[in-house]
């Protein structure tokens, strides 16, 4: 049967064995053998089931015997067909239910896949957000540090400026007094030596106060206590004060070559740029210190020049270089190769963030044992 509702044929209802057995039993009941067949034969009666002729019955000793046999077969067929119908319907519905279940399973799988994808995507989103938060935290930390340094520097500058002022002016007066003393005291060998030495001492002291005044000025620039958040910056001035600060940090032991060309002022954050330059110089100085091969030949080159609309700053050293294994991580926050306590691991991170904030770029070329070159580019019409 094709579907449960198609009219059954004799083969659908009875197998060959069952048909032969039915024929045997019918023949045993009749006086002459009878036979049921799917093929029409002469002298036969149709066997009907549900308006459909399913076969023909022939044989038997009389038409009455033939007819009775045919009706008996019809009667039997009804029960066979009932079972067939039920079995086929059950089969059909089971198959349909199974197909439906499979469809649902597929749909479920698809939906599960969608959710899995979403959850993976979610993890990625969360990671991105965590990164943003970490970066913000770090910037906050940096800016807090800068602010406290700035406040300290402002306090120090204010306190030192006044005494330095009168020390300087007093020293000037003292120098004049020494000149006057020359004419007053007796011109003996001992007196002349004493006065000469006195003059030299005062000259050295004046030089010392000048240097103190310079450092105070540098501190003011660095902490930009006098400047608004964003203002016009003279890159070369910022570089110079960063260099002075670095020299102070390293007790004037650094050999720094300045090749600063004339630059237009750019709008930016002077304190952050100063910090960046200082960080890079500090790194370079560390690289020289760590380079055991050349004890006295360590040099730092600081170069600035205008290239079209871009300011290009190069800070280069011939120190130890960055090991290849560390290079991919140098911009990572809190990544440091220095001993615990001596570096925050934020130097290059802050440098990169600052340069990016100014719509610029930073690239680092390094070779182990040869040195490191950091190139910063800042657009003139930037930030």
């Amino acid at each position: 049967m094709r579907t449960f509702e198609d009219d059954p044929t004799l083969q659908d209802l009875l197998s060959e064995d069952q048909l032969q057995r039915l024929n045997r039993l019918l023949s045993a009941l009749c006086r002459e053998p009878v036979s049921l067949s799917g093929q029409r034969a002469a002298a036969s009666v149709p066997v009907e089931f549900n308006l459909e002729t399913v076969g023909w019955l022939y044989g038997g000793s009389s038409p009455a015997e033939q007819q009775a046999s045919a009706e008996l077969v019809s009667f039997l067929m009804m029960f066979v067909a009932k079972y067939r119908l039920a079995a086929n319907l059950h089969h059909d519905t089971t198959e349909a239910s199974y197909a439906e279940l499979q469809r649902q399973n597929e749909a479920l799988k698809a939906s599960e896949a969608r959710y899995r994808e979403l959850s993976e995507h979610l993890q990625q989103k969360v990671d991105e957000q965590v990164n943003v938060i970490r970066q913000t935290q770090q910037e906050l930390f940096e800016s807090a540090r800068l602010r406290s340094v700035g406040q300290l520097a402002a306090g120090v500058a204010h306190e030192i400026n006044n005494p330095i002022g009168f020390i300087n002016s007093n020293l000037g007066v003292a120098r004049d007094y020494v000149k006057e003393l020359k004419d007053i005291v007796a011109s003996t060998e001992a007196n002349r030596d004493l006065l000469q030495d006195f003059q030299d001492l005062i000259a050295e002291s004046i030089d010392g106060t000048r240097r103190i005044a310079e450092i105070v000025a540098d501190l003011k620039t660095f902490s930009s206590i006098d400047q608004a958040d964003s203002s016009l910056c003279n890159i070369n001035e910022l570089l110079k004060s960063a260099i002075h600060l670095a020299q102070t940090e390293y007790s004037h032991s650094l050999q720094i070559i300045e090749r600063l060309n004339e630059l237009p002022p750019i709008s930016g954050h002077p304190s952050r740029l100063s910090q960046t330059f200082f960080n890079l110089l500090d790194n370079a100085a560390q690289a020289l210190r760590d380079d055991e091969d050349s004890e006295s030949g360590g040099r730092i080159l600081v170069q600035s020049q205008l290239e079209g609309d871009t300011i290009r700053i190069v800070i280069q050293d011939n120190g130890c270089g960055i090991p290849e294994a560390s290079r991919p991580r140098i911009f990572d926050a809190f990544f440091t190769t220095r001993p615990v306590g001596s570096g925050t691991g934020l130097g290059l991170t802050v440098a990169r963030d600052t340069v990016r904030a100014h719509h610029g770029n930073v690239t680092i070329n390094s070779r182990t044992g040869t040195g490191t070159r950091v190139t910063l580019t800042l657009p003139v019409k930037g930030a």
């Binding site: 449960f4 509702e5 089931f49 549900n50 308006l51 009804m78 067909a81 009932k82 119908l85 039920a86 319907l89 059950h90 059909d92 519905t93 349909a96 239910s97 439906e100």
Partner: protein
């Protein structure tokens, strides 16, 4: 959809009795089997469980010969009304040419009627049939039981639908059963006449179709 075999000149139509559990679908079919005396009538096949609930379906084949020798057959099926037999209902409903919806008139069964009707609508859609174009009759059965929802209320409720007026029946007493069936035959003839040109090609006009298939023992039915 009608199943036409040109080589055998045989046209088989399928009518399904649908409705909530225990609304009297099988009783309708049993009454038709005993009341009808159509040209040709087969055995009523009842497949029910011990407690008289239809498990698979019941089926009654009846038939008619057209003037052209057309072997026209009508197979009447019932579906199991119980909710859990939905896949069987769907299988029986597929390719139906007409539906008799047998509703229960008792007030407590009105929700079940609505659920079953919703299920019919849903399953028709699943098997690719449209409830708005399928020939259908709605019968409210069990009018013999006291306290049923009164006819006027029911007729008013169904008046805006394409299935008004409803047919009131008491299948157990044999009333309204043939009327429901004849109404369905009338609607079925309208639906298939266009496609099979029953009147022109097979000399089966509307009256022949209805009377030939629904002739009852004894009285001749008036023309519909």
């Amino acid at each position: 959809m009608p199943d036409f075999h040109a080589d055998e000149n045989k046209l088989t139509l399928k009518v399904v009795f649908y409705g909530p559990a225990l609304s009297g679908k099988t009783t309708n079919l049993m009454q038709l089997h005993s009341l009808l005396n159509p040209e040709r009538k087969g055995e009523l096949m009842v497949l029910e469980t011990r407690d008289d609930r239809t498990l698979f379906f019941d089926m009654l084949p009846i038939g008619l010969r057209g003037g052209s020798g057309l072997d026209l057959r009508l197979k009447l099926y019932t579906v199991p009304g119980q909710v859990q037999h939905d896949s069987t209902r769907k299988a029986v409903l597929s390719r139906a040419d007409g539906v008799v919806f047998v509703a229960d008139s008792q007030p407590s069964q009105q929700d079940n009627n609505a659920t079953a009707f919703g299920n019919l609508e849903e399953n028709l859609e699943k098997v690719g049939l449209d409830i708005d174009t399928l020939p259908m009759v709605v019968q409210f059965n069990k009018r013999d039981i006291p306290g049923v929802v009164d006819e006027q209320t029911l007729q008013q409720r169904w008046a805006p639908t394409p299935w008004a007026p409803l047919i009131m029946a008491s299948a157990i007493q044999g009333t309204g059963v043939i009327e429901s069936f004849r109404t369905l035959l009338d609607r079925l003839y309208t639906a298939i006449e266009g496609e099979f040109s029953l009147e022109r090609e097979h000399r089966i006009d509307r009256q022949t179709f209805i009377n030939g298939l629904s002739a009852s023992h004894g009285a001749q039915h008036a023309n519909v």
